[in-house]
Each structure stands twice: as C-alpha cells, then as structure tokens.
Amino acid sequence: MKLKEAFSSSVIRQMSSAGLLMVFIMALTLETVSLIQYTFSRKGIREEAYLRAESQLEATRNRIMDVVNQTESAVRNSVWIAQWCLDVPDSLFRVAQRIVEDNPVVMGSTVAMVPGYLKSRPLYAPYVFRNEGSLEFSSLATESYDYPSKEWFSEALDKDSGYWSEPYVDIGGGNVLMTTFSMPIKDSSGNVAAILTADMSLDWLSEMVGNIKVYPNAFSMMLSRTGRIMVCPVDSFVMSKTVREAAEDLGDTAAFSGLNNAMLAGESGSMPVRYNGITNLVYFAPLERTGWSMSIVIPEDEIFGSIKRIGLIVTILQIIGLGLLILMIRFIFQYLLQFHAMTEKKERMENELSIASGIQMAMIPKIFPPFPERTDLDMSAAIVPAKEVGGDLYDFFIRDEKLFFCVGDVSGKGVPASLVMAVTRSIFRTVSARENSPGSIVSQINDAISNGNESNMFVTFFCGVLNLRNGEMLYCNAGHNAPFMLTDHIEKLPVKPNLPLGVIKGMSFEEQQFRMKDDDAIFLYTDGLTEAENISHELFGEERVERALHSRTDAFGHLHEMQEKVAEFVGEAPQSDDLTMLFIHFLDNGIRHHVEFRNNIEELPALASFVEKIAGEASLDSAKEMNLNLALEEAVTNVMMYAYPKGTQGRLKLEALIESDFIRFVLSDSGAPFDPTAVPEADTTLGVEERKIGGLGIFLVRKIMDSVEYRRSGGMNILTMTIKR
C-alpha cells in the first residue's frame, strides 16, 4: 500500500475518531474499575467504622454497666439487712448509710417506708447522701417532697421488683443528674414494707460518653427509656428534650424518627441519618436493665473522607491523564495530517516534475519503424523504465541525409535524473540542429550541463552521426559503454572512454570514425542491460548481449529478442535500472562498386573499365565520362606514384556509390599522409616558359570533381570525391 493511501485524510480522520473512541472506552473502563474499587473500599471502611463504633459502644456500655451493676448490687445485697431492721425502724438509716459508705458510685440512699406500714409514723424515709466528701443525713418524709408519689417509689412498689428510674435532676437531694435503683423490702409475712434505693449520679456518664471519639467530628448520644436525651453535645437538650423534640428544634423530624424508634425498641445496629445536608452513620446499642440506648453519630464524610480524597485525587489524575492522552492523540493526528499534506504536496510536485520530463520524453521518437519511407535504414529503440522515474534517454533524427543519434544514462534515479535527462535530450536536439560533428555536439552539451551543475549529476552519453549516403559514421563517446558493431562479425566499437557529460566544463571530446558498410548494424545500450540482475544477483553481462546479437534479424526483432532474453534471465527479480537499447541497421541501397589496385600504374587500365561501368550505369555522357576518368586517373595515379615508398608494395581502393543525383567516390590508401586538397592550385594563366610540368593531376581532380574532401583516419588517407550526374 502506498503511503498516500495509508494516510489519506479521510483515513486519518477515521483513525482520529477511533482514537477518541478508544480514549472514551479507556476512560469508561478506568472509571468502572475505580467505582468498583471505591465501592469495595467503602464497604470495607464502612465495616471498619462499624467495628470501631461497636467496640467503642461495647466498651462504654461495659463501663456503664459496671457502675450500674455496682449500684444495683449495693441495693440488692442490702435487702436482707433492711428486712432484718424492719422491726427497729430507727436503725433503718444505718442500712442506707452503709450502702453509701461502702459504694463510692452511690450518691445517696434511702429506705422509704410504705405509707401506713408503721403505725407510729405514717411517712418515714431516712436519707443518707454525700455532700462534698462527707455523709449527711436527712429525711425525705417532708410535706413538700411527697416521696410516695415519686417514680422510684411508686414504680418499684407497683412492679414489686427492682426498678431503675428515669434520669432526673434531683433538686432536693444535690441538684445533680441522677437515676435511682429501687428495690421493695418485704417483711416476714411477705408484705412490702419499704423501698430501698441507691442514687447514682450521671455526671460521669455525660463525660464518659461525651469522650467517645471514634472520628474527630463524631459524637455520642444516650437516650433514656422514654426517649429523653441523657447525653448529647448540645447541652440545652440534655434531660430537657426527647429526640423527637430535639429533631423538631433542628427542623428535621423525619430524619430521626426511624432511629428513635429503633433505639427505643432496644435494638442494636446502624442506620444512616441525614440532616443539615450531612449524611451521618449512627451506630446504636441498648443498655440492659436500665432501658437506655447509646449511639455514636459519625458524619459519613469522616468515615469516607480519606477514600473520597483518594478517589478525588485518582479521578483528577485520571482526568489529567486522559486529557493528556487526548492532546497526544490530537497532536499525533495533526502531525499525521500535516505529514499527509506534505506527502501529498511532495507527490504532486514529483508528479508535475515527472510530467515535465515525460513531456520531453514524449517527443522522443517512439514509432517504429521511424522512417518507413527509407530503404537504407532499419532501426528500433526501446526504453524499459524501472519502477522509479529514471534517467535513460535515446534520441535520433535525420537531417541532410545524416542520422543523428544518441544514447545516454543520467547518474542517479528519480525525478532529478529524469529532469537532467530531459534537459540533455533537449540540448542534443538544439545543438545537433546546426552542428554536424558529434565531437562538437558532445562538447556543447557538456558545457551546457556543466554550467551550474550544482547537484553534480553526470550523464554518460554516446552520440553518432551516420552519413546515410556512404555509411560514414562519426561518433563521440562520453563515458558511455561501447556499442556493439555488427559487421561480418560482432565486436565492440572502439571508443575513447572520455569523461561523462557534466563533469568538467570546456573539455574537448575526441571524435572517432567508422565506416558502416551495407548490412552493418550498431547496437547501443545503457548499463541497465548488462547490469540486469537475476535473483541470485548475477549480471546479464556483455557476453549474453553479444550472444543474443548473433542471430541476425531486423532491428525490431533484435530488440524484441534482447528483451526476451533479459526477461528470461532476470526472472522474478525486480528491475533496478532503466534499460535502453537502440539498434541501427544500415542498408546501403545505392549502387555500389569498388575496385582495388596495387601501387602499380600497370593496373590503371582496370580503372578505365571501372569508370566505363560506372558511367554506363549512371548514364553519363562521353564528355562527363572522360572528365570523370581523367579526374579519377589523376587521383589514383597520384596515390600509386607517391603514397608508398619506391619499391614497396601498397594497396589502394576506390569505391563508387551512385546516388540519384551524384556519384560519390572514396579513394583510400594506407600510405604516407598526403592531403591533395592542401596543394596550391596550378596557375593555368602562365606562359609556356613559366608553366611547371607537374601539379596538373591534382589540379584536374579539383577542377572536375564537384567536391573533394580529404581525411586522415585510422592510418588511412581517405579522399572523398563527388561528381554530379
């Protein structure tokens, strides 16, 4: 998958939504886990609080019951003494005195006679009580007090058993909060004679219960049997109000009614109570015998404060974490979007650039055969591009009966290479529109490319100019691999290596020459061919290229076969480089003749018959024929006589090509260099005495022929002469 597809903006947006969904799910999971954790912790903490409250309640209850039991025991243990003393009423105060004396928890004690039991004294109740460390004696049988109407007396009498009174403030007997345990005293005949009591102060109770501090803001409450508040942080409520009344004062009756009922029913347990906007947990338990009920009120915040704080911190951390995650995701997706935009931009640019080079490349001839009207040229070319845009090029065109062609390979790959390639091709076209010499074409391209070549790219380049009239091929190589030349055998065209294009400005490139004969062919290629790799990294190599060239066929067939051979060799391996091939098959369809001589003028008659034959085929008139004969004889004689040292054997060759409107002769020899065109013209205006005997031959050649060109190449003197038909 291409990067572009992977990061198309819609995909990124989908991913972004998916990311946010992921964060949401994570948040949900985290919160659920936290909630479960919180619930369980809360349960644990609630249990712990319950245990703490219960143990506190239990401990307090035990301490209270201890005092209660002491008081109760003090009375019960004295019952028999009181019974015994009934016969002597005056001794009864002793019983009360002993109870107070022996029991520090007892504040006061009385033996209150049932009214009318004693004939002598209708009311009799001696009372002993503590007052600032010492015992004082008094009597409760006063008009104003009227003890038989008191609860501690009447209830015990009614129930005929031990009785704990409701707490009360004893105005007469010490002005303290008290409760009294009463016990009936029966005489020997089983009639209730008196009520024995012990008063217990409840001051310590308030302090003890008030001191229960399970949590800093927790407080304790104690209710009497009838619902009266015995202990409570609000002093004004103590003994003056019931819970119900207090609740009315606090403006929330409903909240406490359930608790009140449960406590009054002597139940133990816990119960949430909400008032003043605060939820409290109330733990409560009854105290036996007295009918009191004790409770600890703990604000829920106190219990769950720490876990709530921890929960809050965890939640905050989670929110921060998730926030960061969202930011991160946003950042990543923004980055991806930017990256995507950048990639798109880059791709668009690359696309545009490759379109630009594509336009250039599109101008390269691609229709084969390129010159269907020509019978002297059969050519084909192919570029097999690698996946990436590459830097191979070929080009060719015909101007003035000359085939200009080139093959090049730009260093590197990708868009830069393809641009350099396009530029090179363009310059090739421009320069070769006016320049005939491949040497100067290559030099000029080199200069143009070297100019401002900051990227240091270079181009290996082979440029040739094939004269279609005579098969004369001039070529210039710039660091490219040598083409194969297919004559009667196959060999590599000898090339000067030279430097590639774009390396050094102002360099001159050496030009070379090859004479292509009828049916000769040249095969040019880039290293993408010889360096084609198979899976085991073997190279196709020049030998395989040469072998593939052996079966001679037409240009298209050659390239086709080469491509098949390469494909077969490479197999599954990916193509790493462009593969470019150019095949030029030269077919000389002009009427061609040639004659060869030794350097002996005895052989000249062969020239005459040669000329006769040419003249016949070219239908020259006799004057033209004679002139032609004359010129050729002069040229040939000149070589025979002077090219080779006297007494040595040498050969010379004369070729003739009859074209539609002219005949071309090429005279070649391997003798000493001699340029007849450089000889000064004979002066035909001089008089007899001044005229030189020699020099007329060359003069005649130049005079008769329409063009005479001399070239020294490959150790050969090559004289090319044309004459109009």
Binding site: I601, M626, N627, T684, T685, I693, F699, L700, I704
Partner: protein
Amino acid sequence: MEMNLIKAADGATVVFDGRLDTVAAQEIAKDLDSILECASGPIVLDCRKLTYVSSSGLRIFLTIRKAAAEKGGSVSVRGISNDIRNVFMMTGFLNLFNIED
C-alpha cells in the same frame, strides 16, 4: 595507344591514336627525345584520333611545347575533340598551343 612520328625536313607531325593515359604517356616518354629533336621546326600534334588525354599526356604536350619554345619552333594541335578541348581549356593549354581544326 599508338603514336606515329612522321618527320619532315623541317619539323614533324606526331599522330596520336587512342587513349593517351598515364601508362601510354610513360611509353611515349621513352620516345620523346626523337620528337624533341624536331622541335626547332613546326611540329603538328595530330589529335584527330586521340580519344583521351591524362595529365601525363598533357605533360608530354607541355614538354614538347617547352622544347619548341626553346628552339624557336612552334607546336600546333590538330583536330582535338570537344572533350579534349575542354581539358585544354581547364588547364589553360588552349593558350599555349596553336589549335587547328
């Protein structure tokens, strides 16, 4: 190529028959001295049957002409074809010889 030298009391007539090419000119050059002996008189180069002349042939003509000039004789060329006349023209020989039809 055939060449006949017909000597007169004063001067001579040289008859060329065929192609005076390089090979022929080399042959004639061997007999050139016998022609040059007659150079003090008028020499007629009879070219009516000459079909071709190369520069070597022209050199022979020029050699004869130079000898005649030296010895005070004259050289006339008789009956050259148009083709050869053309060669004479190209080489400026028309000015060096008396051209007779």
